[in-house]
Amino acid sequence: MVQSVVERSVPVEDAPLRAEYIKAFRGMLLARVLDDKFASLYRGGKIHGGVYLGRGQEALSVSVGLALRPGDVFAPLIRDGAGRLAFGESILDAVRTYLGSVLGPMRARDGNVHRGRPLTGLLPMLSHLGAMVPVVNGVLLGHRFKGIRETVGATCLGEGGTSTGAFHEALNQAAVEQLPLVLVIANNQYAYSTPSSRQFACHSLVDKAIGYGVRGHSLEGNDLEACLTVVGDAVARARRGEGPQLVVARLLRLCGHGEHDDASYIDPALKSAPFARDCLRLAEERVLAAGWMSPREVELWRAECVQKVEEAVAQVQREPGPDPYAEDWCALASRHLSEGYHGA
């Protein structure tokens, strides 16, 4: 047998993982390239408002997006660029929202990570942490009422978001109603500048699962295989009718809270922990070591990602921004009930 063929062949049991892993790795890389572009646009003063990246959380996030399918509902949070793309959000939607194009889904009325298309199952996040969890529950209740079966609702939170009343109310609500909710917690050690030790006092957040009567899963969030397996299992269980699933991943945020933040508060000792290693680099090492992609294939894909992102940015930069004179300034869907009174 020719050596190169042996090198590229895969043991039978690896075949499904390999395909999924490569797809996930590609998605992670695209998300990283897109995030890097947003960071550079921000530094160049091209973005109004904040920029929030998912650097270091792509493995976990992409696994959520990939485990879902059309008809499911997904409420991504701050650091879910990878999950969004995997769920089907377009690069254009992301760029248009960050650059304030009226052609984007939020029409320049809302910005950055607060974007989505509810009718395709991608819910635009409310800033208020925890607030998306009951809304996902509600969509799933709606599906139940309408007889739509085997859909799953997923949403993500940081460990900081678990301290909210909304988190508690909604996870309990999902458990009472036995909803197919998958709640993914990225414990990235800091909520803005606040370390986990000031956020919660339990040994691990996954210990909360038993208190709510839901199944808990925990994993290292920078291990793509673990993310695919564990998140995939959680989603499959929810889909099978096993009720809410709480997934808790340990990782480190490899960027500031936003691009305005130098994250100087991060304990240097944490940065050398195994869970602090960059998930994208680990995944790249794995695809190369296993021979699932050649270095050239990786570089080609990286170049393709850059091209896709650059094209989208170039297109959006030519698009119109909002026109206050064309804006209808009407908050109601029922226009006949709008007073049109603005106090002037």
């Binding site: 009325r109 009718l119 909304a166 908050a331 009930l337 007073e339």
Partner: protein, 321 residues
């Protein structure tokens, strides 16, 4: 046969459930028990699976209603008391209120707030919170004062493609009766002349309409003709009807059971003063509850909120200005 304000609310929900498969009811104790005030009595039996008992989680209740609405349902949320809606405030004002404007997807939810004072209710079972909801864009705030409006406006609330705060007054639940349910109604957003008169306009809403009508009756004996305007919805606010009435009478007194700072009475006065200053023969006045929490004891409570008597006093004072 007569029907109470509370029965009208129950009947409207029954009709909404019967007419529209997208409607469901979600709230604490609303199922087999029929609700703390029995506003959903028998509905869970009549509509199995569509009247859901909720955990004591107002934030999650409203959040779930928003999600269900986005999924195509028409949820009716019952808050056990208006006072507890503050726990769901974030979802109501920030999420539901902004939903359509942000996403172009409507968020049709009806949130029933049993509110207002009753004797013995005390600080946290008596509040009138219409103004804080009306302050936010993207919500409709209804304050029905009659049995007929309680029925037809609740049906309207469910049909409207926006979040509706349906502020139903607990004092009116049993006190107010009508012969039968209405078959037609004034459109939502239009105020009603509850009593015509030419000497003064009293603008009121919810339970205060009845206090104002009683005061008008009292002053009629003194040959003063008071026009009482029932706002029906505080948002939208029917400024046209208010302005037309003030144009006829030249005097305005606005009465609300809520606290004085900001609020509906302040809004009405501000609009009349800025847009109808030349219609006024005297400075516009308002009467509200005192700026303290709502007292428990009936003697204190009666002195805390406007009553027919205090409205009549304020009206006489205004006539002298």
């Amino acid at each position: 046969m007569s029907i109470t304000y509370l029965e009208a609310i129950r009947a409207a929900q029954g009709k909404a459930l019967a007419d529209d498969p997208r409607v469901f009811i979600y709230g604490q104790d609303v199922g087999a028990f029929g609700g703390a005030f029995k506003a959903t009595k028998n509905l869970s039996q009549e509509f199995p699976g569509r009247v859901l008992d909720a955990p004591i989680s107002e934030d999650a209740i409203v959040g779930a209603a928003i999600g269900a609405a986005v999924a195509g349902m028409r949820p009716i949320v019952e808050m056990q008391f208006a006072d507890f809606s503050t726990i769901g405030f974030n979802q109501i004002v920030n999420h539901a209120g902004a939903y359509h404007w942000r996403t172009n997807v409507p968020c049709p939810i009806t949130i029933r707030l049993p509110g207002g004072g009753t004797s013995g209710g005390g600080p946290f079972h008596s509040q009138s919170l219409e103004a804080i909801y009306a302050h936010f864009p993207g919500v409709v705030v209804m304050t029905p004062a009659t049995v007929e409006d309680a029925y037809s406006m609740l049906l309207d609330a469910v049909a409207i493609d926006d979040p509706v705060i349906f502020f139903e007054h607990k004092f009116l639940y049993y006190h107010l009766k009508a012969e039968k349910l209405p078959t037609e109604a004034m459109p939502t957003g239009k105020a009603r002349i509850a009593r015509p008169g030419r000497d003064m306009t009293i603008v009121a809403y919810s339970a205060m309409v009845h206090e104002a009508l009683a005061a008008a009756e009292e002053l009629a004996a003194e040959r003063v003709e008071i026009e009482v305007v029932d706002l029906r919805t505080v948002k939208p606010l029917d400024t046209d009807t208010i302005m037309a009435s003030v144009a006829r009478t030249g005097r305005l007194l606005c009465v609300g059971e809520a606290w004085p700072y900001g609020g509906v009475t302040a809004e009405v006065l501000a609009r009349v003063a800025t847009e109808g200053f030349d219609l006024l023969d005297a400075p516009p006045q308002r009467l509200n509850a005192k700026d303290t929490p709502v007292p428990y004891h009936p003697t204190l409570w009666a002195a805390h909120r406007p009553t027919a008597r205090s409205i009549a006093v304020a009206a006489r004072n205004l006539l002298r200005l």
